[in-house]
Symmetry: C2
Subunit: 364 residues, 2 copies
């Protein structure tokens, strides 16, 4: 019988399952139910999206064709993005297709304050790369409202106001400290998250990785403390990290040979895939006999999370590899081909999107 | 020999002298030297202005006719101001006449966040009362640049940026906590204080009561941490509080019968003066014999700090009262007359100034 990828257990081993479960437990999150939403996308179907909060509200809005919004931010530091950003865009694109009003803010103030990039440089980078990259990955620019934090005095004013709703102790519990920049960044994010509701109260969904979860919770708490304002507490939908190629929890720039960025030269990416942790056995003989330990294989994980859209195609690879019919070398070859195809597509689409930037709707 | 009021020792008794001296010592402030500036005004001559930081820089700018600025904020909560505000305006007016570029910001965001007043209400109050009151007290509206915090995105953006220059520990040392609203308010004030230098670096002076001293120190610290930005660390000039009529350190709304606000019905003000702590003796006989204990007398303090401009007139009253020639009743009568004259003038001038508000220069 063909095994379905959606039934594959968590590929990071029990420790990491525990990490995600701990998050769900600590923050009282919901376990993600793939049946809640119509036509789930690749990462929803494959359990990469693992959790959420307030999802029923969004499912109802979709079902009843009521207004809702999806929002995310771009941090325009550096000149690359990563697979985590790709997942955010895929989730935004999903909700955009389901009818969500779409907002992208450029966190130029945060980039300036925390990374020392000038506001001008941050703006240039966002226009030249980050926004085109988001469009290349599936965001419909015609249906998206963009703004720069530094242009949006309403957001900054609201952040100041919301500061009264949060205590130092609460910050320390959520973030481990009450560092001044942390407070500015977090409260500005709270204001960003609620900004689409300033004119019109409606549910909203924020797709994020686990590290951004506290911002959603903080915003929900601020909303609860301003009951008579009538804001909808924002919903959150959380995806796992794309693991590093050495099997580590999360790709990190501190271990560049285990991380693939967007864009990356396909040759370099393929070289990294060659050295990635595999599920192959010690000898070919053993491999043929026992089959691969697919859950350990980071190349397969890349295919599953990012590089193969078609479930059947992925299932076939899974079964061939798990049975030992496909070798690790063959799997890595597929990984390299798919990665090359993806990077070529990505660079071409970024180039195309760059030409559309002049026509975007910027809120000022 | 006639005793000069400027030589009178601190009227709040030794404990309070110690409080001000402690402030000077703790924060490494300079003791105010009345000879530093040309044509010192009433509160400078009478040692009500008691301390400062970076004053030499301002004295040099005046002497060499170099650009410098004076800045203060209006908190548009309530519909009254107090004698502390009056002193701030007198100091601003002094430096304005000495050639300072003058900035007044309306802290509508702070009023909104900390006092729950809507931004619209805060704006209305500032336009209808606080700004006219400042003009009534001596600010030249034609030479003053006004702005509302909520209009000034540059200030909010700068506040966010400066947050990186201050640690949680530093906030806790200066303010006793790292409360989120405190952090927003303090860093917004830092940005306000530096705002006149955004376009042109120049020395600036901020006249404040002792409670605002930490903001000046914080700003100087932020400037020091951004050396290559080339900001001048702001100078501060500090005045004592107007004591409450019961002799308490500072007037406070929590003890309304010991506080006179601006405006206040002269009848009500006179009633409070009648009940104020006096320097008179137990019996008329003793009073004639020993003279009044002028330093204890809160009516005299009001005359000295606020109600008598002419030094000779004040010296005469001092001598007559100290010698026992003038009774407490007679002194309080003078106090009441002067207060009535002041309040009538104030209300008339506010009314006149209100008509000029449309023509003010607001930065947006």
């Amino acid at each position: 019988m063909i095994k379905m990828v959606s039934q594959i257990i968590d590929p990071w081993g029990s420790t990491l399952i525990e990490d995600y479960n701990k998050l769900i437990k600590d923050f009282h999150l919901d376990v993600f139910d793939v049946n809640l939403f119509p036509e789930p996308n690749r990462i929803m179907r494959r359990n990469v999206v693992f959790s959420g909060i307030g999802l029923k509200k969004i499912a109802d809005a979709i079902k009843n064709k009521k207004p809702f919004y999806v929002l995310s931010g771009i941090m325009p530091s550096g000149e690359k993005i990563h697979f985590g950003n790709k997942m955010v865009v895929e989730m935004m694109s999903y909700f955009q297709k389901q009818g969500a009003e779409t907002y992208i803010l450029v966190a130029d103030l945060e980039a300036h304050a925390t990374r020392g990039i000038s506001l001008e440089e941050a703006r240039n980078r966002a226009l030249k790369f980050h926004i085109p990259a988001y469009i290349a990955l599936g965001l419909d620019p015609k249906k998206t409202n963009f703004y720069f934090q530094s242009d949006n005095v309403k957001v900054m004013n609201a952040a100041y106001t919301y500061s009264k709703k949060v205590t130092q102790a609460q910050f320390e519990a959520l973030y481990g400290n009450a560092d001044p920049t942390r407070i500015f960044a977090a409260l500005t994010q709270v204001a960003d998250i609620l900004y689409p509701q300033f004119e019109k109260r409606m549910p909203g969904i924020i797709p994020v990785g686990p590290d951004q979860c506290p911002h959603i919770l903080l915003t929900r708490d601020v909303v609860n403390k301003m009951k008579k304002e009538g804001f909808h507490p924002p919903s959150g939908i959380f995806h796992r990290y794309t693991p590093a190629l050495d099997g580590h929890f999360k790709m990190s720039k501190s271990r560049p040979h285990t991380m693939i960025e967007l864009p990356e030269d396909p040759k370099s990416a393929c070289k990294k895939i060659k050295r990635a942790v595999s599920g192959g056995r010690e000898t070919l003989e053993e491999h043929r006999k026992h089959g691969a330990d697919v859950e350990r294989d980071m190349t397969f994980e890349l295919l599953k999370q990012h590089l193969i859209e078609d479930d059947k195609e992925l299932d076939n690879i899974y079964n061939e590899y798990a049975s030992g019919e496909m070798t690790t070398g063959e799997l890595k070859k597929i990984g390299c081909e798919k990665m090359t195809g993806f990077m070529e597509m990505f660079e071409k689409e970024v180039e195309k999107a760059r030409k559309k930037v002049d026509k975007l709707k910027f809120i000022t």
